[in-house]
């Protein structure tokens, strides 16, 4: 039983290029805009879509994603609505993988079992929950795997060879390598170091490795794509989204186009890295 995520990475590997993974916050700045943006992302070149589940206290996020989450909450976004958004997305897209990313408390309060049933039914493929390290696998990771969802774990520069097996155990779909010790939206990583880190992770796993944190444009995406199976871009998209809000945080007329233009540009960067990653 192969998931959308597994199929997508396998297909891109055959194509000989890295995946572009986009992160946007569900409900930012409102449900309709956020859904329209999500629907436009695959055409702009997103291979996998990460949708943020907003949380009041995102302890690993920088200012851009913190603000995005608060805008979404102010706009009335809830976990129930995030799942509804995935259902709406799935009405005309059955092959782009969707990963929900966020923090544990809203899921815990929704109820883990109920959440997994509803997420699966909505068309969610994987979960990234920032504050659930392997030490807390019984909470959500193991039930999610049992429910047929991928549980994608973050590996970081502080995850040494001794700890990597623990992090990779029970990880599925892909590994998200956080390229710097820091919060989202931090400075660009050194592409050479990232390549070496990806190679180190690959010594421990056959899963694809996507790299995030610090990717801001086509150039940095290309540099990272050359040494990884996927590139994640988030804060840079949210910065463009924010630049297209009015003084009351309402969406401007060009918001979706502005964000998808940057996605197209970054997608070109990823694709131009060519077949290096496949080797």
């Amino acid at each position: 039983m192969s998931t959308r995520i597994e199929k997508r990475f396998a297909a891109l590997k055959a194509e000989g290029r890295a995946a572009l993974v986009t992160f946007t916050m569900s409900g930012d700045p409102d449900y309709a805009t956020s859904l329209a943006l999500a629907k436009a992302l695959p055409k702009a070149g997103a291979d996998l879509i990460e949708l943020g589940m907003p949380f009041t206290d995102p302890m690993a996020d920088g200012v851009a994603i913190q603000a995005a989450g608060l805008r979404a909450l102010k706009g009335g976004q809830t976990l129930i609505k995030t799942l509804a958004m995935v259902r709406d997305f799935r009405k005309d897209n059955d092959d782009t993988p969707i990963v929900l990313m966020g923090y544990y408390n809203p899921i815990y309060i929704y109820g883990v079992d109920r959440f997994l049933v509803d997420a699966k039914a909505a068309g969610v493929d994987g979960l990234i929950v920032v504050d659930l390290p392997p030490e807390e696998d019984v909470e959500l990771c193991l039930p999610a795997l049992k429910a047929g969802l991928n549980f994608i774990r973050l590996a970081t520069p502080t995850t040494d060879d001794k700890r990597l097996p623990a992090v990779l155990n029970n990880t599925s779909g892909f590994v998200y390598y956080v390229s710097i010790a820091g919060i989202t939206g931090s400075a660009a990583p050194d592409a050479t170091k990232v390549g070496a880190a990806v190679a180190r992770i690959k010594r421990h796993t056959t899963l694809p490795v996507a790299v995030g944190f610090g990717v801001r444009n086509a150039e940095s995406a290309r540099a990272i794509a050359a040494g990884a199976d996927g590139v994640v871009v988030g804060s840079a998209l949210i910065d463009v989204l924010r630049a297209n809000l009015d003084a009351d945080d309402k969406a401007g007329p060009n918001l979706v186009k502005a964000v998808t233009d940057l996605v197209s540009d970054i997608a070109q960067g990823v694709r131009s890295a060519g077949k290096v990653a496949a080797k």
Binding site: P54, F55, T56, D57, P58, M59, A60, D61, G62, V63, Q66, L70, L73, T78, L79, I80, Y103, Y104, N105, P106, I107, Y108, I109, Y110, V130, D131, L132, P133, P134, E135, E136, R153, L154, A155, T156, P157, T158, T159, D160, R163, V167, V178, A181, G182, I183, S186
Partner: protein, 407 residues
């Protein structure tokens, strides 16, 4: 499991940091290696008599321990019931119990070779204690403090700066203690290799709740000996205020297995529990996950953390230490609450009858003492943790009283 089936309340947490369903290690992967390193370093230090000996030295000569157990004679007379004692943590150097924990953590940071100390603070007492120990040991110190708290606790901001610490006002979220903790965690994620995060209360990821408790247990251990010397027996009841709950845990823990001792924790009820504007996580919250641990939290139906309210910056936090959450569920500690109005009234009465200006935090505990004590017999021995002094709160209390006059 119920209280009667438990052999001891003092054996937690388990090896994964759990007190029943509470506690745990809910942190980003970046921090996990550090948390495991800290756990190992603390276990090694705890087993090293030299570490304990050095800590005892600093606690005696720098902090000024033991703090007195003081008979509050005029308050006792006033209420005509229980004999009220204060454990005088307000007399510690830096003016609160916070320094007990900071001494332990900074000495651990030195052992671990960490070069940079970060802390979060609400009322500023933990920030001042951390800045103080960092000055003494020559370590750079960065204190995250909600912008709202920077405003209402100016004297402590000035103290921290005088001690050489950098105070970073936090303007994310609700600009108070929870946001300061988020910001400190973000700093730690970013500067993970050389930085020691000195958490101020019995919360956060394992091993912090247990470690901070251990450092604060000196309060209860001394109380036990001092009460034995003063009255020849154990106290009958203990009362302490609870924000995160470190002063309370320090007093309570050594007595948890003495079943004759009644234990009361007092949360901040702000404008009253029904108003929704309070900081009483047990009375008005439910179990959830935040800042590395599962515990009682204030939140909405979607699991979003709601803002706490209290006149006391030190209690203005939407959660509580996980061991307190467990002790509540087990029925070993009874949780009560006191409103802003009640705390300010207790603040005034204690100042005028005992010549002790309490911090607004223990004034919440005093507010409940004032209705517990009169109903108890004269031979009932009650200990209140006077966890800090109130100099820092004079402006807040004056402003509060002024605003009441206008109404």
């Amino acid at each position: 499991m119920t209280a009667s089936q438990v052999n001891s309340f003092r054996t937690g947490p388990d090896e994964r940091g759990h007190f029943g369903i509470y506690g745990g290690r809910f942190v980003a992967e970046t921090l996990m290696p550090n948390i495991l390193e800290l756990e190992a370093a603390y276990a090694a230090a705890k087993a090293d008599p030299a570490y304990q000996k050095e800590m005892d030295f600093h606690l005696a000569h720098f902090v000024g321990r033991p703090s007195p157990l003081y008979f509050a004679e005029r308050l006792t007379e006033r209420f005509g019931g229980a004999k009220i004692y204060f454990k005088r943590e307000d007399l510690n150097h830096t003016g609160a119990h916070k320094v007990n924990n900071v001494t332990g953590q900074i000495m651990l940071a030195l052992r671990m070779g960490k070069k940079r100390i970060i802390a979060e603070t609400g009322a500023g007492m933990h920030g001042v204690a951390t800045a103080t120990l960092c000055a003494k040991f020559g370590l750079p110190c960065i204190v995250y403090m909600g912008a709202v708290d920077v405003e209402r606790q100016q004297p402590n901001v000035l103290r921290m700066k005088m001690l050489g610490a950098e105070v970073r006002p936090v303007t994310s979220g609700s600009h108070t203690l929870k946001d300061a903790m988020n910001e400190a965690l973000r700093d730690w994620v970013t500067n993970v290799s050389d930085t020691f995060y000195c958490i101020g209360t019995v919360a956060g990821p394992h091993p912090y709740p247990a470690m901070v408790r251990d450092f604060q247990c000196i309060i209860g251990n001394e109380t036990r000996e001092q009460m034995q010397a003063a009255e020849g027996r154990l106290p009958d009841s203990l009362v302490a205020c609870i924000g995160g709950g470190s002063n309370a845990m320090g007093l309570f823990h050594p007595f948890l297995d003495d079943r004759s001792v009644e234990i009361y924790g007092v949360e901040a009820a702000g404008h009253g529990i029904p108003s929704g504007q309070h900081a009483a996580s047990v009375a008005g919250g439910r179990p959830g996950v935040l800042h590395g641990n599962r515990t009682y939290l204030l939140m909405d139906a979607d699991g979003q953390i709601t803002e706490a309210h209290s006149i006391s910056a030190g209690l203005d936090y939407p959660g509580i230490g996980p061991e307190h959450a467990w002790l509540n569920d087990m029925g070993r500690v009874k949780f009560l609450s006191a409103t802003d109005d009640e705390a300010v009234a207790a603040f005034q009465l204690c100042s005028q009858l005992e010549g002790i200006i309490p911090a607004l935090e223990p004034a919440h505990a005093l507010a409940r003492v004032f209705d517990l004590a009169p109903k108890l017999p004269k031979d009932h021995l009650m200990v209140v943790n006077m966890s800090g002094r109130g100099d820092k709160d004079l402006d807040s209390v004056a402003a509060f009283l002024e605003s009441k006059k206008k109404k």
